[in-house]
Chain length 240, copies 2
């Protein structure tokens, strides 16, 4: 059975402040938990409705489905919940293809982009400090375990981008047609905020402006969601 203090600890981890203080985050569902175990992240606590799942460790508690539902951050109940230690921050390597996010606020978008990076072999994702925290439970869930393999770094973007020798790409409404550009295997791709796009200070660091062309009747009010735009852009970088 779960103690009151464990219950309080888990619930507190919906807030970034407490995740940082405890150095812990929540992962839910067997598939996602297994990905973090496979990735070698230190397990702090495992709650499971069945003893048949997960490593046999001392930090393991068997709970009822009702108990798990009460503690869960998800609307669709899972059969396991785990606390993992947040890995220590390291500096990103400055090679290969990397994605940079400028003020992405929606947890679902960040999770989806982490999953996309994993699919397209982009192992480092750089985020502005005001991008949503990647250990937010909704981000962890939307990333479907890919967070175990993609390293997310929170950095001052202007400082990071100005020291790059690789070309810095960004998507805009007035850039060059992405389908026709030569795209290198080494580079940095900047994607912007859901409502406001890339902010002017970051934009000043971008050397190559790209556009995903619109088809059918052109309307200026239209735009692509940041996660779907990232999907199309990464697909273009990798298909060459």
């Amino acid at each position: 059975m779960l103690s009151k203090s464990q219950f309080k600890l888990i619930k507190s981890l919906s807030h970034k402040k407490y995740r940082q203080r405890q150095n812990l985050f929540v992962a839910e569902g067997r598939k996602v938990i297994q990905e973090f175990l496979d990735g070698g992240l230190p397990l702090h606590l495992l709650l499971s409705v069945s003893e048949a799942f997960g490593p046999s460790v001392s930090q393991r508690i068997t709970v009822s489905e009702a108990e798990l539902q009460k503690i869960s951050f998800l609307t669709t109940p899972q059969t396991a919940l785990a606390l993992f230690e947040i890995p220590q921050a390291v500096s990103p390597p400055e090679t290969g293809l990397q994605v940079v996010l400028d003020q992405v606020r929606d947890p679902g978008n960040l999770g989806t982009i982490i999953r996309l990076c994993d699919w397209f072999g982009v192992t480092n994702l750089i985020c502005s400090p005001d991008t949503v925290d990647c250990y937010n439970p909704k981000v962890v869930q939307a990333s479907m375990g890919s967070l175990a393999r993609v390293q997310v770094h929170y950095l001052d973007l202007v400082e990071f981008l100005t020291r790059q020798s690789r070309p810095v790409f960004g998507t805009f409404l007035d850039g060059a047609n992405i389908y026709k550009e030569a795209l290198p295997s080494e580079g940095v791709l900047v994607m912007g905020n859901e409502a406001n796009g890339i902010n002017p200070n970051t934009e000043a660091c971008i050397s190559r402006r790209l556009t995903i062309p619109q088809f059918g009747a052109i309307r200026e009010t239209e735009s692509l969601n940041v996660a779907t735009a990232t999907a199309i852009a990464l697909s273009e970088f990798r298909r060459r």
Copy 2:
């Protein structure tokens, strides 16, 4: 001021049953409402915190921000909410490029896919009857007004697909590399459920199996979100 019966009516429209009974759906935010007005959808009721927005019609009520927040289905408050009449169902044309969704359950995914169809000039989207309802408030919101331009049809997929003379494509883990295939401008692209993919009855109607290749270390546990996979596939169909 909003009457009690209007309040009850609006709240009831979160349920498909009441949307069908009343033949009405909710749109929130000035941008989204304006798109439906531009699309010529009959307006039933408009709530706005400012008289400066929207047509001057008899079905207009000026409300306070607090009132609007109380009635809203969104977590981020907007300054306007409207009820529109649901357009009459018509048969989809059987030409051009169309997307078919098999049991897509997540409102955010459907809304994002409607927005993608709009971007890529796909004006008809065919959904299995058990796909989430496109007039669900969360779908309307995620579609960002694109629902005003993309016609969504709920049909028996096997019946629809078997009578097509156009090629029927689907994405699978074992298909032909989508980057290398000849893709026609006339065709049907089937995308499947978030957890289970395309169901076997629908799969039997697919003549051409496609795969979006995975890069980096290949792991069988990985997959793409249905909306991001649709983004990449539509981009491939249109870039040729």
